[in-house]
Subunit: 494 residues, 2 copies
């Protein structure tokens, strides 16, 4: 344990070094598994150091690749604690403390979401996709209760049946589609609702699509609104969407895996005014904007855990002995899983450690940095190498932009060749490994945007200097690529 | 970090104390979350000690409650390492080392399972239920490929459709039924196959039930065989089941969440001769018999990851950029989730540390203890308090038995009142908290057994002395209950 603390502390120190690579080169690694005797204490610390040295460095402020970032130290301690205790949050007696903490944190999150106090509750799932999938399953089985027993074929054999239909924005996370595949609903019954120019779901289009589906004999039952889309970070207009759902009796789920903490903690009206409480269920991933290590995802239910139990519970007697007045008994039966890591412990610990105010500050800082960075990109002076263009005004804490090499001219509107340049630059940049960034694209009413750089702002270690250095690194990479091949960015090249 | 190592080491020492409770009393706990400022470093170690003190003590050899047990120290280090690195195993670049290790461990497990080398591969899922569910989804979409796009309603609208049917033993884990609910197949289409007197699936009954389903116009497609049932620890006869599957073109999945390591590592022919390689997919949970902290579950696929990608992949372009020749790219797309903890790292680390031979010894020890314990129960002399009866010969490492209080007489066959006594004794025993054991029941061809004690043997800390002390504790509890109420066990009482 002492050795672990030394190795781990060294790792944190070296990872935060400004020269440390974000993606280390992995050369020859000996990953063989000993047939007979293990390497024991003598060799294992070398192994651990090898893994540390070969791991993607999420502690660096130059890890700007995905929606999660540097874990907080207390988060790591929480993770180690969960491993140490090896408690299981499926039945109360297997971990009373895990159940109590999960209940407490779930209720606190529900309160921040302005869900009804005392009724609303939440459970953790192994990631936002699973939280979203559970919400869909609960909504499906509540609307079509015969499915649990009869399945689709049994239910349909008994008479007229309408197609269960799901609505989600064109910019929403693909987990909704995966959940539809899992649920036997199929991709054809996931209606993609177009967005406005900012990437927010067009609620008029939603209403029309729902009404059309009804007119065509479909059975709309589930709308997924996103708070913080994966690429642009947009917040779908929840009040308008909730009105459509209320008019047609649809389950409203909010996938706030990314933007949820902004909605819960932010004092900025843009996010804090977001009326999550109009939803039936709500996913938030503290492993993203709150710095808890992967995974920590909560699914909050406005009406508590009862609908989950009803939809999915089987009450397997060998495990769930029931008969207890304790509502925290047997929560595992409300999920599609069985054994459960008590992930809430790490969020509780971090929340106790930092307090609510810290998260408000952290989120305000991320938002401010996004605005500053957007400003930095749009005002950065062009050079002989090229110029900079914002792809969209930052909706929350993602910044999307192009570097347009001079070879591609100075078009007022985005060109497909900008996308090729982005992919080329990004691939080389990430190969070099000093910064790790990502690219994406989206469809907007005016058409599909060429591939752009997408930087999520999250880690409190990121500063304006970090971001300026990323822009420099992109310019330097452009120069290096041009030095190798002066025609590398030419539009006719790709 | 230093403080963490001190607190954690103290915890391990005190948890292994022979007097330490397994379920501590939880009195007043302050779980409040600070509105404004956090408690910081000053208070957090008290919090951590509070949690440690209130947690269920899985390190104790007297934790004999569920199928997991004491985590190995290297497992805890592995868990902490995963938290520290905060790497994500969804796309290769987010964690090359995580992907390489997962691939390596998956192939090593597949090799032990005698799956075709070079083809078979595995991925981790957040628990055995999710592994089983993924296997079912893959099998469903492979057999009915139109479901991915059209869903059941679309597919059925296009013409004649037969009910997809699943077969699993009456003693199998309930996750198969949950998966059927999730998949839109429904509980009515899960055919429960009876077992023989030892709790092993009756393969003749399976064949008859499959043929009956076909004759009735159903579409059998998936058989779940269990290697290590949850209660009796039975191994379904895989060769006979595989023959039925081959004859009718059914997907054979083996849920070896519990017994898998015996099948993979044991030199005992009873388990080591188990031909896992006859299956299409195979779930094994190293977090059970291998002492890796929760969760660590592998789903192995005989034909590699391609069927997973085909069945579930959407290739969301914002995340999965594709175009790489690397087969380890974008493994997340092969799952129903998105972000993934690289759980394989902790198994790899433990395997490197201990070597294969350690696991063979550990498993042989667990099996030997089960046989010894069964012997101990059946030969333990009766006292004035009552006598002992085995509920079943131990199929692998679970021992199931009754303590029959004298008040209930000396019937040659199990009586319902024995079950009441078991529940009463177990509840009191667990309330006292010095040992934690569980009870269960099963249906056998001769009828349903009254509730019995079920002890899974797993932890290497358990000795014959531990087990003798459990039997003593049950007798003492019986005495204490009788002292309080001499009629507590009377058959007419319940």
């Amino acid at each position: 344990m002492l050795e672990a603390s030394r190795v781990f502390s060294d790792y944190v120190r070296s990872s935060r070094d400004t020269k440390a690579p974000v993606i280390p080169r992995i050369d020859e690694l000996d990953l063989t598994i000993p047939e007979k005797d293990g390497i024991g204490t003598a060799g294992i610390w070398d192994d651990i150091q090898t893994i540390c040295g070969a791991a993607t460095n999420t502690w660096s402020e130059r890890f700007l690749y995905k929606l999660y970032a540097s874990p907080t130290p207390i988060g790591v301690v929480g993770e180690a604690l969960i491993g140490l205790l090896n408690n299981n949050a499926h039945v109360f007696q297997a971990s009373p403390i895990g159940a109590l903490i999960e209940d407490r944190v779930g209720r606190q999150l529900a309160e921040l979401a302005r869900f009804p106090v005392g009724t609303a509750a939440g459970l953790t799932f192994p990631g936002g996709s699973y939280s979203n999938m559970h919400a869909l399953m609960v909504a499906r089985n509540r609307r079509f209760p015969e499915l649990k027993r009869s399945g689709f074929t049994g239910a349909m054999a008994r008479g007229e049946w309408r197609r269960p239909m799901i609505f989600t924005s064109a910019h929403a996370h693909y987990s909704i589609e995966k959940a539809a595949v899992a649920a036997g609903i199929g991709l054809d019954n996931v209606v993609s609702v177009p967005t406005d120019a900012d990437g927010r779901m067009d609620s008029h289009a939603l209403r029309m699509l729902v009404e059309k589906a009804l007119a065509d004999g479909g059975a709309p039952f589930f709308v997924n609104a996103t708070a913080g889309t994966t690429v642009l970070g947009a917040f779908d207009p929840i009040d308008e969407i909730a009105a459509v759902c209320a008019d047609h009796g649809l389950w409203l789920h909010v996938d706030a895996s990314w933007g949820g903490p902004l909605a819960l903690f932010s004092s900025d009206d843009r996010f804090g005014g977001y009326r999550v409480d109009r939803a039936d269920s709500f996913t938030v991933n503290p492993h993203k904007l709150m710095g808890v290590p992967l995974q920590c995802s909560f699914l909050l239910m406005r009406d508590g855990l009862a609908p989950m139990r009803e939809a999915l519970g089987l009450g397997a007697s060998y495990l769930f002995h029931g008969g207890s007045p304790n509502v925290l008994d047997d929560v595992g039966d409300a999920t599609m899983g069985c054994g459960r890591r008590p992930d809430a412990i790490k969020l509780w610990l971090a929340w106790r450690y930092y307090g609510t105010e810290y998260f408000r500050r952290r989120l305000a800082n991320a938002r401010r940095l996004a605005l500053d960075f957007a400003d930095m990109v749009s005002t950065r002076p062009p050079t002989a190498l090229g110029h900079w263009r914002l792809a969209a005004a930052p909706q929350s804490t993602c910044v999307c932009f192009w570097f347009v090499p001079s070879q591609l001219g100075a078009h007022p509107t985005p060109q497909p060749s900008w996308g090729d340049a982005t992919r080329l630059l990004c691939t080389r940049l990430n190969y070099l490994g000093h910064v790790l960034v990502d690219y994406a694209t989206v469809d907007l009413p005016a058409g599909s945007l060429p591939t752009f750089f997408r930087l999520p702002l999250n880690s409190p270690h990121v500063t304006k200097e970090t971001l300026a250095s990323v822009l420099c690194a992109i310019e330097q990479t452009a120069k290096a690529l041009l030095d190798e091949d002066p025609r590398c960015f030419d539009a006719d090249k790709s």
